[in-house]
Symmetry: D2
Subunit: 302 residues, 4 copies
């Protein structure tokens, strides 16, 4: 028996890169948070403190900023692929690079009804995300693009039931035919091939998710998620898999009976904790899975 080094990776997390396009009077802005994580032959660093194969995390950061100018940030998916490919191609003992990006959206300020050239308000709604993983070299090169968002808070004030559930001795929950359903959705969808435009693909996928959430009469958050995923896969050929994490943000009907007030699903307490958490994947059954690291966020363990 001996003690050995297992899976490992390292990188620079959360470089806050802001790119302004100002070649014309009407500026454009891209505001992102970039994290890179590298895997490869780093045993020397762990076992002997030998850094000769360690590209400093500082260099990864410098590259992220430099590429914002050299390569530009038209879409976070393109920028991430360029950055990830560069990292694997220029350092030979790197086996794979994962670039994780959050994008903060801005909308132009209106002045007298017209969009201002160089002033924005941060939109503040969901945070768009991308995770690009580049593995292997030459003919073994594989690039995985996962687009998505987090913190999209949605609520419907009716059209949601929860009945007929399994009952064990600790079940005291009453079934309901009409409740608030609310979540702060995380969704990530994997592409095989690139859409004609990453920007319009993002907008379109979000719209399908949101409108399906609205229109499905929900018998369970599980069902709603599955329908949302199915709708995306049916509409977008290049998307092969979508994963959801959906906290059930409980809105409890407030008990106004002690005050002789009827509460017909009108007044709720929005509770913080605990919350239900539903997580599911919807995918095509004929598509090869992505490399394992393509789904491994730097925010978890390796």
């Amino acid at each position: 028996m001996s003690i050995v080094l297992g899976p490992n990776r390292y990188g620079k997390a959360e470089s806050r890169v802001v790119r302004i396009y100002r070649d014309e009077a009407r500026h454009e802005i891209r505001d992102i948070n970039v994290s890179t994580a590298l895997r490869g032959d780093f045993a020397g660093a762990h076992l002997f403190g030998d850094q000769s194969k360690i590209l400093p995390t500082d260099s990864q950061k410098q590259t992220a900023y430099a590429f914002a100018k050299q390569k530009g940030i038209v879409s976070i998916e393109d920028y991430g692929m360029t950055l990830g490919t560069h990292l694997v191609d220029t350092v030979e003992h790197i086996d794979s690079a994962r670039v994780e990006i959050e994008e903060f959206a801005w909308q132009r300020v209106l002045v007298d009804g017209s969009e201002h050239d160089h002033t924005w308000i941060r939109k503040g709604q969901e945070t768009r995300t991308a995770a690009i993983t580049v593995t292997g070299r030459g003919e073994h090169r594989e690039t995985t693009v996962i687009a998505g968002f987090k913190d999209l808070v949605m609520l419907k004030s009716t059209g949601s039931e929860f009945t007929g559930f399994y009952q064990d001795p600790y079940t005291v929950l009453e079934p309901t035919n009409d409740r608030i359903m609310a979540t702060s959705l995380v969704a990530q969808w994997r592409f095989v091939g690139a859409p004609s435009s990453w920007e319009s693909a993002y907008t379109a996928v979000k719209q399908v998710l949101v409108s399906t959430f609205a229109t499905v009469h929900s018998l369970a958050l599980q069902q709603t998620l599955y329908e949302m995923g199915r709708a995306v896969l049916e509409e977008f050929d290049s998307i092969v898999e979508i994963r959801f994490s959906a906290p059930n943000k409980h809105h409890f009907l407030y008990n106004l009976a002690p005050f002789g007030i009827e509460n017909n699903n009108e007044v709720f307490n929005a509770d913080d904790r605990p919350y239900g958490l539903i997580q599911a994947t919807v995918l095509r059954d004929d598509v090869a899975p992505a490399p394992a690291e393509a789904w491994d966020s730097y925010t978890g363990l390796v």
Copy 2:
């Protein structure tokens, strides 16, 4: 010399009240965070543990939820005045009540281009606020309404200078004629009298603030804030005072020179800490000040 009780107050903070209007197919939603704070003759509780004059914070919470149905939440300013007045009027040893409200805005989901009846996405931009203070009784009754918002993140990519500043031996900052100016604005404005509509007043004040931020060529964040305040006071007769807290969210030009890349105000690092912090008041010089407690948030010390 003796030890005595000084200023004190108590209340229930952060009741998360959600009110759905569902009398018609097209529902409406109001989503607020309510905090109440009472001042009055509570020495008995402090000195002897005598609770006979203490209206429990739980009762304050119950009232906040009950009023959401009984009185409704058309605007947070009206709801706050109703709740604050009730508290002072029904408990005789209460001298003043302050009701602080945050409102979270929702926008309707679009389905096939039409607004959905009962599904929303949380807007996520600024948080609207109101602070209503009711003091005194009978002819001494005074009601102060302060409307506002927090966390309105704005950025302009040009049109901002910082030059000609005072220099001491620790000054190494270079003057600049072109920089990013960004802030996460807190603004609170005090009314004397009520506007015809709290809702349209809010929208209009926000628009004046935002468009002034955009159009003023800034020599200093101080100057921009003053102009924003002046514009509001010039446009709205019923507003007599406005206070700002504006962090200067530094965007530092990233040094790409080591890589032979020119950076002509195009790539920035959005820094977290430290940040400049500019705070100012703009007011009419002929208006009586509000009672001191009208500006004292429960988030500070009494």
Copy 3:
């Protein structure tokens, strides 16, 4: 009637200064978060964008770091007085400076039972604070020192009642003779004159507060706070005033009756929101109040 500039201030918030003393093998560490706020004649900057009287916030930051070496950080109170005095003394149009400091405590790592020379774990308990305000010049110079802490989380599992309270129509709370009492305490105490050691004063005041919280049989959180304040003022002559902000962190007895399980104050749900909030001041009745700005944190409005 005209529109005018009202109260205003500006400064640099949250400089994260770490000072290592390493003249001997056994190092020492001071880890602080410094914020400065200046008041004075800054109307030119607001009205005309004239910066000639504006000491840049960057210069304030540089001074905070430079003084960490030049003057050292033996105690945050001393460091804050030195920094605040310097700012008022070297820039003539500054009327007052407020230096607000958070200190993060570290404890030495033990290796084979001995304290390590240069390795620490962050303690993570309460955050010690100081707020030093320097106003005026020459004979009008006044220096106010407020020491304190925030986020000291305390809990007692018995010895706390809440009965005999005022009842209005919205009161449904049941009185209780035995409940959990828990808070996350903010306390700030003002000195007149300096103690022989700021370090030992801090430790001693905290001990008085904590042990009084433990030993007072509580009829109300108000009463407990008053007794805590009185104990401090009785023990420390140089302290003239203490202010508390104490959220009542509710621990609700969990209803296990549906499962036939008795719950004799043994299982609780620690709730997040809403929470009661009790705020009070205890002071000596013969002491002049501090200047108003001495209590105004940069985290509020001016």
Copy 4:
């Protein structure tokens, strides 16, 4: 080609259970945050909204609170195994249960030098964690116990180098022979078999980690982590694997040269973002891996 349901799970996250032992005058406290996640045959809920196999997340919460009394919380590992085993054993279509627990530590208040019977201060240092996964039935039953902590903030003011690293065209970092090394460590270690005491095992593992961090002269954070892992595996036979996630919390030497002040590794800026992030596993080479879900936190995607 068809669209299918992929991996999925659901549960109740973040039940805040507080358990008081009060059979004697000297009370004991256990303060935990419990999350359960179930996997199994839930296709009906996703595909058809059929809840008949869905044990409500509310029931999972009720059980977490009920077990705090019925089974007690002596150690979070035992409590988690009991809860996880119960969930799999009582609901036949559940294949596996994962119970994730955070424990908040309290220390007794001292009064006149003696520990108080029923009053505590929250320690606030690291948060202890446990993740128990129960899979299969009968002879296929497997129970995995992963103990650990998060947010253990450590710093050493010397004894850390970073030199000899790989250089690409974007490398501008200067090598250093003496820097601050600081991290906020996440560590999770997997047991095969149970130690004689979970409590003393936790304390002992933490001590090995902390003292190794202190005493290893570090050529790289990678090397330090590996040595920390090796030390744990060498000392504890029942631990077979340990995983680390270690942000490199950068402390940048502050440039005081413009002020003619020498800064001999004495004054630093503690930066927030970006940060290096090192993640590694150290394990025994002869031990079977845990089931995949044993390492999948509910905080990530399924």
